[in-house]
């Protein structure tokens, strides 16, 4: 057993840190969802060769092992590097195309993704298909060399900014099992018949509803095989996992700021850091972060061994998302009444970041497979409990 990163990994960590500091500046606070979306930054990162660092070399990636990707992910998250414009394409679209995509798709999209030129949105969820995703109803009807798409998607991030949509639709309504009648399409978001409508969230992020009204797309838009979409959806999650393994680094940054505040702020004449209750709370969070970080390391380690860490990924997702809510609450508690001040208020510590974090933090436990579903996956797939 050895918990050390290699000297090369530590050097890579420093290189990433230096790059982010020079690109984003020492005062970069970032973090809010719309600030994390920057085509300009994604292009810079692409130029540096740091999109798809884990992709195989034959597809233009750096072929770096999972542990290197973990290090990279940690620094990107700790530095709050704006990655939203390319992250979905890098983690989901690209790897799925490499596995099952046509030559045409690979040739067209992979280079664009690596250079940070293209933005995808992921559109699976529908008003009636949330956790029960396989019940999705948006349908594509074959008509000669084309498909006609009708239906509605909802809670879609960046749909208003995206160049392409990666969508799950029903192509065989008569399939014996609902999972078997789903296909993935890549659609140009400018296709006539596709419209979006904003859906504002309490954490200042704009989600979108996406409507398909007789949107006509060529059959070459189908990803891989027709009616195999469900398998692609579930397999693609694998590639997200190594990124997930780094999650705690983002929370560590928030925690470090809370600790810094507690050390430098006096209340009732004594530094907050000397208050026994605050000490216990901060210490408890430090221990929580330690636990979460090791779950991530285990995840990356299993991936590096070629093991698909199905339950471990769910455990990590549940643990870190619930930790984030505790962290959001802790931040506001330590700041006291100042904690409620929003960005732009002169008296707001950290320019209101922690106030925003409290509003944002419930999102992770809801999105990406609600924690209730994750726990059932853990129990059935991981612990062998009966259905």
């Amino acid at each position: 057993m050895d918990f050390r990163f290699t000297a090369q990994q530590e050097a890579f960590r420093q290189e990433v840190r230096d790059f982010l500091r020079s690109e984003l500046g020492p005062d970069w606070r970032g973090g809010k969802t719309h600030e994390m979306f920057s085509r300009e930054f994604s292009r810079k990162l692409g130029k540096k060769g740091w999109i798809g660092i884990g992709w195989p070399k034959e597809y233009g990636g750096l072929g770096r092992p999972h542990m290197d990707q973990l290090v990279f992910g940690e620094e990107m998250l700790y530095g709050r590097a704006p990655s939203a414009a390319h992250i979905l394409a890098q983690n989901m679209v690209g790897p799925t195309l490499m596995n099952v995509g046509s030559e045409e798709h690979k040739k067209k999209f992979l280079p664009m993704i690596l250079s940070g030129e293209v933005v995808f949105c992921l559109a699976y969820t529908e008003p009636q298909a949330g956790s029960d995703l396989a019940s999705l109803q948006t349908n594509a009807r074959a008509e000669g060399d084309y498909f006609i798409i009708n239906g509605q998607k909802t809670f879609i991030s960046f749909a208003g900014d995206a160049d392409y949509g990666w969508i799950g639709v029903r192509t065989d309504p008569n399939a014996p099992k609902k999972h078997r009648g789903i296909s993935i399409f890549i659609v140009d978001m400018k296709t006539p018949g596709i419209t979006t409508r904003k859906l504002d969230t309490m954490f200042d992020h704009t989600l979108y509803e996406v409507f398909f009204d007789d949107a006509k797309v060529h059959k070459s838009c189908v990803v891989g095989q027709l009616n195999q979409g469900w398998y692609y959806i579930t397999q693609a999650l694998d590639h997200e996992r190594v990124f997930m393994a780094a999650t705690i680094a983002g929370y560590q940054r928030i925690f470090d700021e809370i600790v810094e505040y507690a050390k430098s702020t006096k209340r009732n004449g004594i530094p907050l850091s000397k208050d026994p209750i605050i000490r216990q709370k901060l210490s408890e969070m430090a221990i929580d972060l330690h636990a979460g970080r090791l779950l991530g390391y285990r995840l990356a380690w299993l991936l590096e061994q070629g093991i698909v860490p199905f339950s471990e990924a769910s455990i990590s997702k549940v643990f870190t998302s619930e930790l984030e809510k505790r962290l959001g609450n802790l931040g506001m508690q330590v700041l006291g009444l100042y904690g409620q001040l929003q960005r732009g208020t002169p008296q707001a510590p950290y320019d209101g970041y922690l106030e925003w974090e409290y509003r944002f933090s419930p999102m992770q436990a809801v999105g990406g497979g609600a924690n209730e579903i994750q726990r059932i996956i853990i129990a059935i797939a991981g612990l062998g409990l009966p259905r």
Binding site: M1, D2, F3, R4, F5, T6, M67, V259, A262, K263, S273, K274, I278, R279, Q280, L282, S283, E284, A286, I287, H290, A291, G292, L294, L295, Y297, R298, W301, Q305, S311, E312, I315, V318, F319, E372, Q374, R375, I376, I378, A379, I380, G382, L383, G384, L385, P386, R387
Partner: protein, 378 residues
């Protein structure tokens, strides 16, 4: 990074599990809870034959020369099986300080006998003030010719009633700091003036009150240097704390396994209760605690084994986390078992009680959190 156990470690785990399952059934555990001695000399002998007492001792002292992480693996299995007896007090609390701080004569005298299973040891640290730190050491040892005379009371001394030697942490002078002026002695447990009484405890783990009244110890039995015993003690406690964590992680694993087996089999409303989502969520939460505890244990133990500067903080983090995790897992385990889980006849209660006992040993959660807070610079 490498998060796998070695092949040898996996083998040690398997053979320890097989041995303990066979040789230490829960009927024996229950019997020994009531037993005056609290251990089975026959089982003790068999463990010695396997070389367990000398697992981490060098070969020159008849040990097996294995590493600290190997001992952690073994302790994890002992915790899984809640093995009663003086292994922990002899090997972790006793042999490691002698190995680390003893003179060559002391090592030659004690270690081979420990390895053979002929000597039982323990460490007397805590006092009625029940502090976990240096300031808690108040029991006096005064120089008198070629000897020292110890006077005072130690509490919660594991297995003192059966120990051949007690390593006693004493105060030999009032130093400038609480850490200054502490000295350790290897005290013959049969010395005149020692009175020892087992205290009934939640973990039935034979914790004793030991009263020292004018107990004479020859100078040659001093462990380490005069007044400079705190660093030895701190190191011993660090080993002990992470070793206790190993037992507690093993206990969690067992409680989870027993619960999974039960909820798959127990039928209500015509279905195994493990098919109900609420039970599935409980079990997922339990597993999350076991998984995190295991990795935290290994990382801290690895830090200790490598002698890294962060090891003290890693151990505090580990104990702080594992204290709470073990209690959580065993509490949920009782709940999933329902009424049967609350009976004396059922094994799960053995673990529920030991989880709390484990928390109290070598620093409860509040204490560990304070250490972590200090490390954060608060």
């Amino acid at each position: 990074m490498n998060l796998d156990l070695t092949e040898e470690q996996e083998m040690l785990r398997t053979s320890a599990r097989d041995f303990l399952t066979k040789e230490c059934p829960k009927t024996l555990v229950r019997k020994l809870e009531e037993d005056e001695k609290g251990y089975s000399p026959e089982l003790w002998r068999k463990m010695a034959e396997l070389g367990w007492m000398g697992l981490v001792l060098p070969e020159q002292y008849n040990g097996m020369g294995m590493g600290f992480l190997d001992l952690i693996i073994l302790l994890q299995e002992m915790g899984r099986n809640i093995l009663p007896g003086p292994f922990f007090s002899t090997v972790v609390l006793g042999s490691l300080p002698i190995l680390n701080a003893g003179t060559e004569e002391q090592k030659k005298e004690f270690l081979p006998k420990i390895a053979k299973g002929d000597t039982i040891l323990t460490l007397a640290f805590t006092e009625p003030s029940v502090r976990y730190d240096a300031a808690g050491v108040q029991i006096k040892a005064a120089a008198q010719g070629d000897s020292f005379v110890i006077d005072g009371t130690k509490l919660f001394v594991e297995n003192a009633h059966i120990a051949d030697y007690i390593i006693c942490v004493t105060r030999t002078k009032k130093g400038t700091t609480p850490e200054d002026g502490i000295t350790l002695f290897l005290v013959d447990a049969k010395s005149p003036g020692i009175k020892c009484e087992v205290m009934p405890t939640i973990g039935a783990d034979k914790l004793c009150e030991v009263v020292f009244k004018n107990v004479k110890v020859p100078k040659s039995r001093m462990l380490g240097k005069l007044h400079e015993g705190w660093s030895i003690t701190a190191r011993a406690l660090e080993y002990a704390t992470i070793a206790k964590c190993a037992e507690m992680v093993g206990g969690q694993e067992a409680a989870l396994d027993m619960t999974l087996a039960y909820v798959k089999e127990r039928v209500q409303y015509g279905k195994p209760i493990g098919s109900f989502q609420v039970i599935q969520h409980y079990c997922a939460n339990m597993w999350m605690n076991v998984e995190t505890s295991r990795d935290i244990l290994y990382k801290a133990a690895w830090n200790v084994a490598e002698g890294l500067p962060e090891s003290a903080n890693e151990v505090a983090v580990a104990k702080g986390w594992i204290n709470e995790a073990y209690k959580f897992v065993t509490e949920r385990a009782v709940q999933c078992h329902g009424a049967i889980g609350t009976t004396r006849d059922h094994d799960i209660g053995l673990y529920y009680r030991r989880a709390k006992a484990g928390e109290l040993a070598f620093g409860d959660t509040d204490f560990q959190k304070e250490l972590v807070a200090q490390k954060l610079g608060l």
